[in-house]
């Protein structure tokens, strides 16, 4: 097994016209760990995500993904769908992007597109109904069912995704990303809009993904209770640069983080930071 971090971001810069959204940012995400990327609104977190997952082409810097077998992939050179397909990086979105008119099960089947496409002989074999494709489809349904069980939505499998409750949609989106069998799972504010109970369930789900499946997770999150509880490592950004990193405890006590992250009002800052402990 490779000792290298699964993801290493080096000197990443992203400019939009004259605005520098991310400036020479470097950090690493450890293998089989949960790394959180936090920072105030507008710090450039989602931009970093979009660079990693290929939705933006970085203006400069390097993003390396090292697979378990030591294979290295330069993510900044791949574009959109290839990052998910070849580099095995899956992501969710800040505002949920499910396929609302398709059932929960169908959503999870779409996620297995590339595997199924291969099994269907790029449609031609599937069209004439070869048994190997039917087996592959059965396996895909089994994987989807397994995930529906994990996220507690088995009984809603045949309901339209758009009809699910907000929290259920969040979990379904994570399950859908996991159905691509990723090496790295990137979650953009998965706890946004969840209540305390749902947040707790989410934490549990993410921990189980890390512990049982060994998937590395990179996470943007504002909900400090979730971040502090599950993260192994935290990177703090402000105004496009990294201002601190370390374990949850280290970050929470870092005066720079408190000052920058929560402005000048230190009492409030301390209060929020402590709510996570």
């Amino acid at each position: 097994m490779s000792g290298e971090p699964i993801l290493s971001v080096e000197q990443l810069t992203m400019r939009f016209g004259g605005i520098v959204a991310v400036q020479e940012l470097s950090f690493a995400a450890e293998r089989k760990k949960i790394t959180a990327l936090i920072g105030p609104n507008g710090a450039g977190k989602t931009t970093v995500f979009n660079c990693i997952t290929g939705f933006y082409k970085p203006s400069g810097g390097a993003i390396r993904l090292t697979h378990d077998d030591g294979r290295q992939i330069a993510l900044e050179r791949l574009n959109d769908f290839r990052i998910a397909k070849q580099a095995k990086v899956a992501r969710t979105f800040q505002n949920i992007r499910l396929f609302p008119g398709m059932t929960a099960l169908e959503n999870l089947m779409v996620a297995q597109h590339n595997a199924l496409m291969l099994a269907s002989g790029f449609t031609f074999l599937g069209l004439i109904g070869v048994p190997t494709y039917r087996d592959a489809e059965k396996r895909a349904i089994a994987l989807a069912t397994d995930w529906l069980k994990r996220i507690n939505l088995l009984d809603r499998a045949d309901d339209a995704a758009g009809n699910l409750a907000y929290g259920d949609q969040r979990r379904l989106e994570i399950a859908r990303a996991m159905c691509t069998e990723p090496a790295l799972l990137c979650l953009d504010e998965p706890a946004a809009g969840l209540n305390a109970r749902e947040s707790a369930a989410l934490s549990e789900l993410l921990l189980s993904i890390r512990n049982e499946l060994g998937t590395s997770i990179l996470l943007i999150e504002h909900d400090m209770s979730v971040v502090m509880e599950i993260s192994d490592h935290i990177v703090v950004m402000d105004h496009g640069v990294k201002i601190a990193q370390g374990t949850p405890r280290e970050v929470r006590d870092d005066p720079k983080v408190i000052a920058a992250y929560l402005g000048t009002d230190e009492d409030e800052a301390v209060a929020v930071m402590e709510s996570g402990s």
Binding site: T46, N50, F55, F93
Partner: protein, 305 residues
């Protein structure tokens, strides 16, 4: 060179007419987000009303050309505007917040209705009128006898277009109606909350668009000396092409696109082949959109992730 200049003049005149129609497409698109497929037919109706008004005025014994022109302009603008208003009310308003393809198909249906209405009401044959405005200027005469001419009709078309554009730009940027229109374009719900009468603003958009189309219809009538019930279709898709080429939703873009299409068509006819002028215009549209997916002046679409 002389030949080139002459074609340039012809192309700009044709482009002005396309531009006037294209503004109607782009305005409606900007505010309601739909392609008003019936707009080309509104232009055709405008041409017919202008023609009929001419006939009546002339048979009444009126001879003063400027008076005739002014009356025809006002009558055709007013009646055509009412057509625009009525169509929006009947065919589009009930579908305002519906599924997006529904108003488009409704518009295609409306376009069929208008084409056939005018065919039934006025017959299928081409309707010619004698040239009302004659004369012009010879700009330059070359040694081999080629003459560059600028006819009075051409001058009239270009001047009318410029004046209308000026009025229109003033309307959109300076008046309360213009402000309401721009507000509705950004966010209809918010505009309504802030006291903008969205229904009225949208109605006015259709009214103005139809009035401009009527002017284009009149100009077409004066320039080519004829109208027929089917002319709305071709002119409509050309103007729509112009609006998209310029960047749909952008008013200067519509005018620019109109001029571009007019010039492409004229030059292609002049230097290559008349038969393939439309093919050339459409092909250039496709090529431009490959490289600039939102047209020449359209706002680039930012993909929100």
């Amino acid at each position: 060179m002389d030949y080139f200049t002459q074609q340039l003049i012809n192309g700009l005149v044709l482009g002005s007419i396309y531009g006037l129609i294209a503004i109607g497409y782009t305005m409606v698109y900007g505010i309601v987000g739909m392609i008003n497929f019936a707009h080309g037919d509104i232009f055709m109706i405008g041409g017919f009303i202008a023609l009929i008004t001419f006939l009546i005025l002339i048979s009444l014994g009126l001879t003063a050309i400027p008076v005739i022109l002014l009356v025809v302009l006002l009558v055709s603008m007013a009646i055509t505007a009412l057509y625009g208003w009525t169509i929006e009310r009947i065919a589009y308003r009930p579908l305002r917040h519906s599924f997006r393809l529904a108003p488009m198909l409704s518009a295609i249906g409306m376009s069929f209705v208008l084409t056939n209405y005018s065919q039934i009401a006025q017959g299928a044959r081409v309707k010619p009128i004698p040239p009302l405005i004659t004369g012009g200027y010879t700009l330059h005469e070359s040694a081999d006898g080629f003459v560059i001419r600028l006819s009075n009709v051409q001058i009239l078309v270009v001047i009318t277009t410029i004046v209308l554009l000026a009025i229109f730009t003033w309307l959109v940027s300076r008046t309360r109606l213009g402000r309401d229109m721009r507000a509705c374009e950004q966010d209809q719900t918010m505009a309504a909350l802030l006291g903008v009468d969205v229904d009225r603003t949208i109605s006015m958009t259709f009214v103005i668009g139809a009035a401009l189309a009527a002017v284009a219809g009149l100009m077409y009538l004066l320039y080519y000396g004829l109208v027929d019930f089917f002319m709305g279709f071709v002119a409509g898709i050309k103007a729509f092409t112009a609006a998209v080429l310029g960047g749909i939703g952008s008013l200067p873009g519509a005018m620019l696109g109109g001029l571009a299409i007019g010039l492409i068509e004229t030059f292609w006819s002049a230097y290559f082949s008349v038969e393939y002028k439309d093919v050339a215009a459409f092909s250039i549209l496709i090529v431009v959109l490959i490289f600039m997916p939102t047209g020449l002046l359209g706002r680039p679409e930012v993909e929100k992730v």
